[in-house]
Symmetry: C2
Subunit: 212 residues, 2 copies
DNA sequence: TAGATTGTTAATCGATTAACAATC
DNA sequence: TAGATTGTTAATCGATTAACAATC
């Protein structure tokens, strides 16, 4: 039974672990059984030193001359990232983005189950999004406590982001995926991760502009 | 006329500039005319030192005792991030996520215009996504060169990500927004920014798990 | 065995924070 | 003026890379 290490893994390392997970999963699907730190580094554009240093945060070991067994590698990465368990999520905001996320097959395929979608617009309530009917946001707190919901995805207009986050926090959600541009404030026992697509577009247009 | 500085701005700084832009835009909308580095830091959960250090990369200056004028601050951030110009984008992949992105009002509102959506599935071709008909991916290269397309959003299954990216690269796209989990390889004159929502979910479930 | 590759320590590099003189 | 706040230099902190002994 693989045990997690006590020490906190830096966020920079966690971000790379998500890349390793995807890469190693691909290798397994191709039937590759062993991979070296250099292989990983080459595929993902980094140094083998970084790969080995990152793995030192994890209770998993390679073998000299052979590298890492993909099976165990994949398994431990999934465990460390929480990708080996099932998570219950709700989507708040039934606009185009919220609806798409509620329908995104990739999430349940990976154990991130959508359990409901909420909005505050009465005209949207009851409308079907796949197998879900849009629910009144006022029913959200009860839904969270009844359904053991772990994660709330915030896909509302920026102006409503903080108040929706506050509702989620009061309802004792464990984590928030913030899809809005707004910075969301939360007590530190609640995890907030930003997934701000427009901010990524800013980064992109900056880099294009800056390239000469 | 505001001039951009010569030196390259570190990516860590650029990421924070996107937060400043959103925050300062909100201030302007509320009619606030001046903001101090401490105000920004408090709102976004960082130190005032970081804010001032970040601004040293930019050709914009505050005034002792008053801080920064929001109008100029907003303007220079928009300029540095390329948010003050119009960008032409296409979406590749007409699944739920691709369709939602093609419909996302936030993008054109901010100058990131969707110009078309492509897929390789003949059953999807011709179908309407808002005002767009899904086009054959084989017509993509010509569309890019004819339409002065700057950015390609890759919203296809992970297995197709690299080959789609290669098509975009050959067609001389300037930047790629990668929505898939896969690492995308590109020559260094092509900007690739990852916006991997599932990876953000991994980060989230890791953090929830790691919190004791 | 010989040599490839790990795991870890040490060196380097970069990013964040602290401190403070300049200044409005 | 007095004091708040900038801009920048220096100090600290953390992350990445290099190097190499251990080892399979």
């Amino acid at each position: 039974m693989t045990r997690l290490k006590r020490t906190k893994i830096p966020q920079s390392v966690v971000k790379r672990l998500t890349k390793y997970l995807t890469f190693v999963q691909g290798l397994r699907m191709s039937g590759v059984e062993w991979v070296s730190s250099q292989d990983v580094a080459d595929a993902l554009g980094m140094t083998s030193s970084t790969v080995r240093q990152d793995l030192s945060h994890i209770d998993f070991h390679g073998i000299s001359k052979r590298g890492y067994e993909t099976r165990g590698f994949h398994k431990v990465l999934a465990k460390v990232l929480g990708a080996d368990t099932v998570w219950n999520m709700i989507v708040v905001g039934a606009g185009n983005l919220g609806k798409a996320l509620a329908l995104h097959e990739e999430f349940p395929r990976r154990g991130y189950n959508i359990c409901g979608i909420f909005d505050n617009d009465p005209r949207k309530m009851g409308r079907k999004v796949g197998r879900f009917a849009v629910q009144d946001i006022r029913d959200m707190p009860r839904f969270i406590s009844n359904g053991k919901i772990d994660v709330g995805i915030v896909a509302v207009p920026a102006s409503a982001a903080q108040s929706v986050a506050d509702m989620l926090i009061i309802a004792r959600i464990r984590g928030i995926l913030n899809m809005t541009l707004t910075h969301v404030v939360a007590p530190k026992h609640i995890v907030v991760i930003d997934s701000r697509i427009v901010a990524n577009l800013f980064e992109l247009s900056h880099a294009i502009t800056a390239a000469r």
